[in-house]
């Protein structure tokens, strides 16, 4: 029987999903030129859900026959997803009008995707992990191709869909192998079988590796990053911003939950794989970003590189002593990276005058002179990406490196440090183009987008003065480890 406590455990998800359903119907009566109402309603729905997440945080509940769990980790991630969703709505409102793709379904699909992410952070059963992955992915395939008369958008959507379906296949096959190794799908049952030592260890390991492939695709870790630059470039920019923050966070949520609960016993085999993945992701992301002159592609490679930094701390997932720090540092970094990333993408939205036009480095020329506060904001974001002190990005990297060193992966930390230094070149090049090159940019700045830029820049600067508050929140978001 479904008990009240089951409903309570996924109430925020139900609110987002139910609100999206209602919005789908209500949107029919909202005329084409008033789609701002849909955007506002979507934001209100997300805000209500956010309120419920905050109200129900602090509890630990297993709901629906251990299908889902409500704990500090899921609450933290859900706040991140919901705030990302609201920022994405604010960024999209003006953009989809300008690009003439103003359909209310945009916001509905985004809410479905957010519901999937929220479920992903709560999933406590491999079946739920797979379904949440699909629920968050399918609307994103559509959102990527939302500007469908544009060839680049359609191409991005098709690539994302084909490779995404392939990655889902890996997750499903991994799930099937783990089921055949243990006879269980829910985390409690699998952990019990593994602890008892009655699992088929070969099948279990292959299943774990296949899951790593699937999640590696979602977080865009090398060698599963091939889709990222094309999809990030072709998708509507607010969707790209949403993907680079929320989808990455959802991928890491799944990775952390599944690996920390199910696979600590496999760490001996999986740690070398993760080590190589982390090193390659940092190196490839940063090196290839050096050669980009399209800002969207550059930020896409930078997003790959940042996933590498997080993986660097995650390599130690089997080490019980530092695992708490790993989770806290990862969550902190996701917040720091999210703030910086949304700010940078908002700036791309400002300078993108037509779909996919005006986003080369040369188009930045003169912005620092004619729009000084935009220039200063971009300087802040680029410094934060590069990890310069007095920004959130610095503290994020500091905590990640500290965790890696604590766990004894000094070689990896050195790779991270060197690639970080290399990354400063392409981040600062953006600033150089803005301030040093002459140009006469004509920008249309929407108040909502400038609000996002302003708040993100202030948060990146001011929160860096009190980073331990966020870190403490992240530390309290402990996983339910059984």
């Amino acid at each position: 029987m479904t008990r009240m406590i089951d409903i309570y455990s996924i109430l925020p998800v139900m609110i987002v999903a139910g609100w999206a359903l209602l919005l789908l119907v209500v949107d029919l009566w909202i005329p084409r030129h008033r789609k701002g109402i849909t955007a506002l309603l979507a934001a209100i729905g997300l805000a209500i859900a956010l309120g419920f997440v905050l109200a129900s945080s602090g509890n630990t509940i297993l709901g629906f026959n251990q299908m889902v769990v409500l704990d500090g980790f899921s609450s933290f991630m859900q706040v991140l997803f919901l705030v990302s969703g609201m920022v994405a709505v604010a960024l999209a409102y003006d953009y989809i009008q300008r690009m003439n793709i103003n359909h209310g379904e945009f916001y509905v699909l985004m809410m479905f995707s957010i519901a999937g992410m929220m479920l992903m952070s709560q999933a406590y059963n491999l079946l739920m992990v797979f379904l949440a992955l699909e629920l968050l992915s399918i609307p994103l395939y559509v959102l990527t191709g939302f500007a469908r008369t544009r060839l680049e958008s359609e191409e991005a959507s098709l690539k994302y869909f084909l490779l995404g379906a392939f990655a889902s296949g890996f997750v499903l096959y991994g799930t099937a192998l783990i089921f055949s190794a243990t006879g269980q799908l829910d985390f409690v049952g699998i952990a019990a079988v593994v602890t008892a030592g009655s699992a088929n260890s070969v099948l279990f390991l292959i299943g774990a590796a296949l899951l790593l492939v699937g999640f590696g695709f979602k977080i865009a870790a090398v060698p599963f990053q091939m889709w990222t630059p094309d999809v990030y470039q072709g998708a509507p920019t607010p969707v790209t911003a949403f993907m680079s923050v929320a989808v990455k966070a959802a991928g890491f949520a799944a990775l952390m939950r599944v690996f920390l609960v199910l696979f600590p016993s496999l760490s001996e085999h999986l740690t070398p794989i993760l080590w190589v993945m982390a090193a390659l992701t940092m190196i490839v992301g940063n090196i290839v970003a050096l050669a980009q002159n399209n800002i969207k592609r550059m930020l896409a490679y930078s997003a790959i590189a940042h996933a590498g930094y997080i993986l660097m701390a995650f390599v130690a997932f089997g080490n019980g002593e530092v695992v708490g720090n790993t989770v806290a540092a990862t969550l902190f970094y996701l917040v720091a990276y999210g703030l910086t990333s949304f700010g940078a993408w908002a700036l791309v939205i400002v300078i993108e005058r037509e779909y996919g036009k005006g986003i080369l480095l040369d188009d930045l020329a003169g912005i620092g002179k004619h729009y000084p506060w935009l220039g200063v904001a971009m300087l802040v974001f680029m410094l934060s990406f590069a990890g310069v002190p007095l920004t959130m990005g610095f503290w994020g990297k500091f905590y990640l490196f500290r965790t890696a060193v604590q766990a004894g992966y000094i070689g990896l930390a050195i790779i991270g440090l060197l690639t970080s230094v290399a990354s400063a070149y392409y981040y600062l090049r953006v600033v150089v183009y803005m301030f040093m090159k002459p140009g006469e940019p004509k920008l249309q700045i929407n108040p909502w987008v400038s609000l996002v830029i302003g708040v993100a820049a202030l948060a990146v600067l001011l929160l860096s003065l009190i980073p331990w508050t966020i870190l403490e929140l992240a530390s309290r978001a402990v996983l339910l480890l059984q």
Binding site: N65, E105, L109, F112, A115, L127, M128, A132
Partner: protein
């Protein structure tokens, strides 16, 4: 598992994997689709052998039936694939007659042995995969996944409509012209 069960399973597994490979390798979309039908049917037989006739028949009707008919329809409607006019397998009529005799022999054998209850693979229980049990499981233990699947299908539907519905630019322009 008895030896006969292992042989039975190995045969089905080889056919299933072979047909999946055939689907992937074949350049002709119609042949690929037909290989997929064979694959679905083989998996359905596996379900049947495991004592889950309801799931097996759902697999046949939904996948091998409805979905594959839709696939073939789309392929032939698009007209991208042209089948060769000649018969690609030499002497396939003789093979077909041979297979027909095998089928008749099977029917006769079935008639004589129809009351035997042994299967090649040991069953979990007679009621294990009955429609009733599946329904009960789906709405109790697996209620949440069931609802999530509903949302996945809905978002896919909304997405498919969004990506294919034609632009309605003319309506606003017409009203502006009338003004």
């Amino acid at each position: 598992m008895p030896v006969i069960g292992t042989i039975f399973y190995a045969f089905l597994a080889i056919v299933a994997v072979g047909s999946a490979l055939g689907m992937l390798i074949n350049r002709n979309a119609i042949y690929s689709a037909l290989f997929l039908v064979l694959n679905f049917a083989t998996v359905a037989v596996l379900y049947l052998a495991l004592g889950a006739p309801f799931i097996a028949l759902s697999q046949i009707t939904v996948y091998a039936g409805a979905i594959m008919v839709l696939f073939l329809f789309v392929i032939t409607l698009l007209g991208a694939e042209k089948l060769p006019g000649y018969e690609p397998i030499k002497g396939h009529r003789i093979v077909a007659i041979g297979l027909a005799f095998v089928f008749i022999a099977e029917l006769v054998l079935f008639f004589f042995f129809r009351n035997q209850v042994t299967g090649p693979i040991p069953l979990i229980g007679p009621e294990f995969a009955s429609p009733r049990n599946i329904g009960v499981l789906m709405f109790t233990e697996y209620l949440l996944p069931f609802e999530v699947v509903a949302f996945i299908l809905l978002s896919a539907t909304v997405g498919a409509i969004m990506l294919t519905k034609p632009e309605r630019k003319s309506t606003t322009k017409l009203s502006q012209q009338q003004d």
